[in-house]
Amino acid sequence: MLLSKLSNLDGASGDEGEVRRFIHERIKEYVNTIEVDPLGNLICFKKGRKKGPLILILAHMDEVGFMITGKRQDGTLKFSKVGGIDTRVILAKTLRIGRKKIKGVIGVKPIHLLDEEETNKIPKIEDLYIDIGAKSDKEVKDIDIGDFAYFDTNFEKTSTGIVKGKAFDDRIGCSLILDIVKGKFNFPFYAVFTTQEEIGLRGARVIGNRIKPDYAIVLEGTAAGDFPSKKDIARTPLLGKGPALTVIDKSMIADRDLLQRIIGIAKRKSIPYQIKQAGIGGTDAGRIQISQRGVKCGVIAVPARYIHSPASLMSVNDYNNTLKLAVSVLKDLG
């Protein structure tokens, strides 16, 4: 499971190079052609013995992160978010910045010095800053405006079968595809690793103008809902209960027939699965579905807790079951 390495790579929307190079290296022996388009999408094609159907499997390379927007006179850095991050989760976290991965911290006033009102307010991004230890802006070297900054998290196995790391959304999908391409399939397929999903599904918008597949399956790491709550409300997907299938999210209504087919396969092969909570989140499938004359799309995702934050948790069993399901679906479609 290459997720251990993929998770540690740094690649926010617009800065996916490290991830792209890694994937390129590892996928080249399994595919016939590889291209990079003007958005930075990595597009790999594998011929098949049969002429069709043409299938597209897709994951996005980018993670959420930060961008340096200014340098203050006192040596601290101004920054903005890249993609959706809850401001509350970034306070007092450590980041690694720029090409040289220089360490910095998002500083917060010590609690001893806060008054009552301040403890109840969420600071605005404009009021936050990154401290790399410089005493003035002249000391800030090797960091330019436009550089990216990442949560300084390292992948680890936590307890039996659970792993921790950053960027599970969507290095999980990238890892799954790298595992999938090792298999043998009769049909031709495209394995596409998109960019800029987190800032508006932008990489995916151009894919449908280059590739016209019969089916598209998007592989994702999706927000798990299994946290304690007093209310008896929806919490799916849960860790350990298998791959999550999308019926409807903010970006699309999954193709009904394809979805039924996937569920049928899961049942036949005794693979546990769950239905992802309705109306939450969005994926590249939303853009592929409405490209050109339309594409039938499905989304299969591994549940992960605390995505879009410094550290997420995932169950290795879920990953394996998702891989099993994805491969079975591809074999069935082909």
Partner: protein, 334 residues
């Protein structure tokens, strides 16, 4: 026309589930057009061959609805919206599901009667006694929509889903009156998933690549007590759209519609809609740009289970569109 409107509005068809509506329309229209087909997303495309300007008309088949997302231990069902389903209209309304089961929308206790109605505090009661029973009757991921009958109140009619079954009824009636005699290459498109992002219109416009696009949908009125100021009134004729939230209609098409209305003494009015849009918005943005406009049917209480339209407005819209298609629109083809 009232009987076809009754049939259409009483058919089940939330976004993503337009199958039944498609079947009704197909039966009604097939003897009046040269060919019918449906595309990958489920759009129904009827073609009446003609020379010259390629005109695409669009009405959407889908209505707003709900999708079940969780069943609690007592058998109450939590749900998410499909399209612009407004909680305030839905309290104690009846919902019908794909499989015909009926439910009632209930609400958690409110701290005060003046608190807003929130989607997260609603649930559907299908009369099940526990989770097990509910799961068997209405599993997670089931789609539903309002359950309400059509009422003929004389000059006016009340029904759910007049948005946009009334547009579909208009196009069917237009097809019947054209008797296959048109001066333009005419495509009558019944689109899917308009309510969740104008999706069907995008892919169908891409496939057809028309010279001009014309949407037929509903619009709000400003003629009820203390309504938001708006020029549109029920009974004042077909509403020729000038602008809405997504489009400023092509002025040449608008001029043409006005001229045809005046010449043929068809009652018309001008529409500017602040919030809300139609398939015309995405038809315009397709490929290299397609000049587009819309003819709207004024409607009160849009997105509730009791929308009201005036049959004189409907008749005016039909007449206007028939005359438009029977006139060579070569001048609009640029």
């Amino acid at each position: 026309m009232k009987s076809i409107i009754k049939k259409l509005t009483e058919t089940f068809g939330p976004s993503g589930f337009e199958k039944s509506v498609r079947n009704v329309i197909r039966k009604e229209i097939r003897d009046h057009v040269d060919s019918i087909k449906s595309d990958k997303l489920g759009n129904l495309i009827a073609h009446i061959k003609g020379k010259g300007t390629k005109v695409m008309l669009a009405s959407h088949m889908d209505e707003i609805g709900v999708v079940t997302s969780y069943i609690d231990k007592n058998g109450f069902i939590r749900f998410s919206n499909v399209g612009g389903f407004f909680p305030v209209h839905s309290l104690t309304s009846r919902i019908i599901f794909e499989n015909g089961r009926i439910g009632v929308i209930g609400e958690e206790r409110r701290k005060s009667m003046s608190d807003p109605v929130e989607m997260t505090k609603l649930y559907i009661d299908i009369g099940a006694r526990d989770r097990k029973e509910a799961e068997k009757l209405v599993p997670i991921g089931t789609f539903g929509c309002y359950e309400r009958g059509f009422e003929d109140i004389g000059k006016r009619i009340v029904a759910k889903a007049l948005d946009d079954r009334i547009g579909c009824a208009v196009l069917i009636e237009v097809a019947k009156r054209l008797k296959r005699k048109v001066k333009n290459d005419t495509y009558l498109v019944f689109t899917v998933q308009e309510e969740v992002g104008l999706k069907g219109a995008r892919t169908s416009a891409f496939g057809i690549d028309p010279d001009i696009g014309l949407a037929v949908d509903v619009t709000e009125t400003g003629d009820t007590p203390e309504a938001k100021k708006m020029a549109v009134k029920l009974g004042a004729g077909a509403a020729i759209k000038i602008k809405d939230w997504g489009i400023v209609c092509d002025p040449k098409i608008v001029e043409t519609l006005i001229r045809i209305a005046r010449r043929n003494k068809i009652p018309y009015q001008f529409e500017i809609l602040e919030r809300g849009t139609t398939d015309a918005t995405v038809i315009q943005l397709t490929k290299g740009g397609i000049p587009s406009a819309a003819v709207s049917i004024p409607s009160r209480y849009i997105h509730s289970a009791s929308e009201i339209v005036d049959m004189d407005d409907v008749e005016a819209a039909v007449k206007l569109i028939v005359k438009f298609l029977k006139t060579d629109q070569g001048g609009l083809k640029k």
